[in-house]
């Protein structure tokens, strides 16, 4: 029995590895593409931030008190251009901000400093929320106004202490590795899940539906090998392909990290990601369980289809469901142990726990057992389809 499964598994793997184009598409391309795309995207996000920081905002003002200019120049020096305008120019400036030609407009009430003494004068600030330079200029203006406010209060009350009630010292007790883990765990579990499914989907449609379409599966069904063994041999080979393809994608993510960490939330140091061998081992075990479930779903749907096109039509909705399940872990927290009992979803939660250094063997085993039960049911159904002569039409 084992011999037959192994013979079929070897043949299916040989098919992928012998076909240079397919091997490149399955094992090299995902990692390469991800490394390039993520590095590019990370670079672009960084560039947007850098550009905003380097940009000197042009701040138009109406009725500007001298205190504003002095405070701005004390904080930003030459890093902010302040232009005084007449109230009649207001509409033109607002139009310019809308068109991205100007960054910020600040309108003070007339005699602002005098009114501050016994009135509550207003300051109107105009920015364009869809223009990055306008938004960052707006923050700079806020900072100048806040400093100005404190300065006026200090002057009014005699000391800064009189203006403040208490001081908040914010301390973060999270370890650097935990912070880095949290950042990386936001996207990575979702990406790994999608990579696993996508890696299996590409070859999986061909491995059964393709053989049915080409008429090559009948030759195999005419051998004394049990149909169940044919199905399992094909499925196991696909699980290996899926896992290898996913690891290639993971390598792509790791290679891109120095350039793409902003995409994963930023604010962490890659050197702080100090995962041990056991962390990687537990992660691969959870991924292997997911790979088995995915290939069993793909093989079952592929066996039900008459050709590759039909298989694609059946598999795509399953892919969508898996994507939604994996995305939901980005925003939802596990609500007790039962969350880990949901097949596949439990594995994604466990991977997230491993990445955030919060993994426990209890949840790990629960996730594995539930997914393996699910996979076993799928495999049983797939094997049944191999015995169904209406589904497994051989000509």
């Amino acid at each position: 029995m084992r011999n037959n499964i192994f013979t079929i598994l070897k043949k299916e793997l040989k098919r992928v590895f012998l076909d240079k184009k397919l091997a490149f598409a399955v094992f090299i391309m995902p990692g390469l593409t991800i490394a390039l795309i993520y590095s590019f995207m990370g670079g672009m996000i960084d560039k947007i931030g850098d550009d905003a920081r380097e940009h000197i905002p042009v701040v138009h003002t109406i009725n500007m008190p001298m205190e504003f200019r002095d405070t701005a120049s004390a904080i930003y020096g030459t890093g902010m251009v302040i232009i005084e305008n007449d109230v009649t120019e207001k509409e033109i400036i607002i139009q310019n901000i809308a068109e991205g030609k100007a960054d910020v407009l600040v309108i003070f009430e007339g005699n602002f400093i005098d009114k501050v003494k016994d009135e509550l004068p207003a300051v109107a600030r105009y920015t364009n929320s869809i223009k990055d330079f306008s938004v960052s200029g707006g923050y700079m203006v806020d900072s100048v106004l806040e400093t100005m406010r404190k300065s006026i209060l200090t002057e009014r009350l005699g000391s800064i202490k009189a203006a403040e009630v208490f001081v908040i010292n914010r301390e973060d007790v999270a370890k650097a590795e935990e912070k880095a883990g949290k950042a990386i765990s936001m996207l990575l579990p979702m990406l790994l899940t999608v990579f696993l499914f996508a890696g299996a989907m590409q070859v999986g449609m061909d491995i059964i539906a393709g053989e049915k379409e080409r008429g090559t599966i009948a030759t195999m069904l005419l051998t004394p090998v049990k149909r169940g063994h044919i199905a399992i041999g094909k499925m196991l080979s696909l699980a290996i392909v899926s896992l290898a393809s996913c690891l290639s994608s993971l390598a792509g993510v790791i290679i891109s990290l120095p350039f793409s960490k902003t995409m994963f939330g930023g604010g962490f140091n890659i050197a702080d990601l100090s995962y041990g061998v056991s962390d990687f081992l537990f992660m691969v075990i959870q991924m292997a369980a997911m790979a088995l479930s995915f290939v069993s779903i793909i093989c079952l749907l592929s066996a039900l289809a008459r050709n590759i096109k039909e298989a694609g039509g059946y598999i795509m909705p399953a892919y969508m469901v898996i994507m939604i399940a994996s995305m939901s872990t980005m925003f939802m927290k596990p609500e007790g142990l039962w969350s880990y009992m949901i097949p596949i979803y439990g594995n994604i939660l466990n991977i997230k726990d491993i990445l955030t250094f919060g993994y426990t063997h209890r949840t790990g085993i629960i996730g594995l057992v539930s997914t393996m039960i699910f996979a076993a049911v799928m495999v049983w159904m797939m094997v049944r389809t191999f015995y169904n002569e209406r589904i497994m039409k051989t000509s």
Partner: protein, 268 residues
């Protein structure tokens, strides 16, 4: 008549097979009946050293009968035994003893002839030495040696057909079943296949073929079963069929039997 005088190797007993039709198939057949009786109470026996031919028009039930014998599908009624093994209860034993050749069987385009031959040999539980011996014999027989290392996607359809036959025969089966052996083959390959089937018969194998071509049946078959609308309408040697119908050739004999069969069905 038992030409070779050997023991019965294939025994088909009153098998019937009904297919459920899709709406598309119902429309094509012009019927409102969801079910089609493809094989209706068919029985025959084939012995070693004999070529048994199922002769009939397209859609008569020849292929379905052969697919039941080769365990690709199960009959609804009746039984089939191949060298004593029941096709339903011991289907794997049956598959060890026979091979099915058909133009529908394709070879995987991603591999070489050599690899596929070894692969199917292993699936039949053969060890490498036995596979190599069989490869030597069959690759020489069908002239595959020169393209043994060529990927099947780069082969001509004739080469693929030869390889498909060699692969099916890898385990040296006692029973060879061939569905429409000359269909789609050029005249030279068709002749080579027919000669090879005769050789198998002479070596004591039991050969069962299906065909709708009268000349193939005339030249090849020791015993002919005329199958019409899922039923065996007549059975015998070429001479006995000609004698029974007073016809001069198989073509005329077939139409005489076809006419009688229609009349009988009409009476029923």
């Amino acid at each position: 008549m038992n030409i070779a005088g050997g023991s019965i190797l294939i025994e088909v007993n009153n098998i019937s097979k009904t297919f459920k039709l899709s709406k598309k198939q119902m429309a094509l057949d012009g019927t409102k009946n969801k079910f089609k009786l493809a094989v209706d109470n068919v029985s025959f026996k084939a012995v070693p050293g004999e070529i048994y031919g199922l002769l009939g028009p397209n859609g008569a039930g020849k292929t379905t009968t052969l697919r039941c014998i080769s365990t690709l599908i199960k009959q609804d009624k009746g039984s089939i035994t191949v060298d004593g093994s029941d096709s339903v209860r011991n289907s794997r034993d049956v598959r060890r003893k026979l091979c099915l050749l058909t133009n529908e069987l394709k070879v995987d385009p991603n591999f070489t002839a050599d690899y596929l031959f070894s692969f199917f040999g292993r699936l039949h539980g053969m060890d490498d030495n036995v596979i190599n011996n069989r490869r030597e014999i069959l690759f020489n027989e069908f002239g595959i040696k020169e393209f043994a290392d060529v990927k099947t996607s780069d082969m001509s359809s004739g080469m693929k057909q030869k390889l498909s036959i060699a692969i099916s025969l890898v385990h040296d089966p006692q029973v060879v079943i061939f569905d429409e052996p000359t269909n789609g083959l050029d005249i030279i390959t068709a002749r080579a296949v027919m000669d090879y089937l005769k050789k198998l018969r002479d070596n004591g194998k039991t050969v069962v073929i299906s065909t709708h071509i009268m000349t193939v049946a005339e030249k090849l078959c020791d015993k002919i079963g005329l199958i019409i609308e899922g039923r065996i309408a007549a059975e015998g040697t070429l001479d006995s069929l000609l004698e029974e119908t007073k016809a001069s050739d198989l073509d005329d004999a077939f139409f005489e039997i076809y006419k009688r069969s229609r009349e009988k069905k009409h009476e029923e």
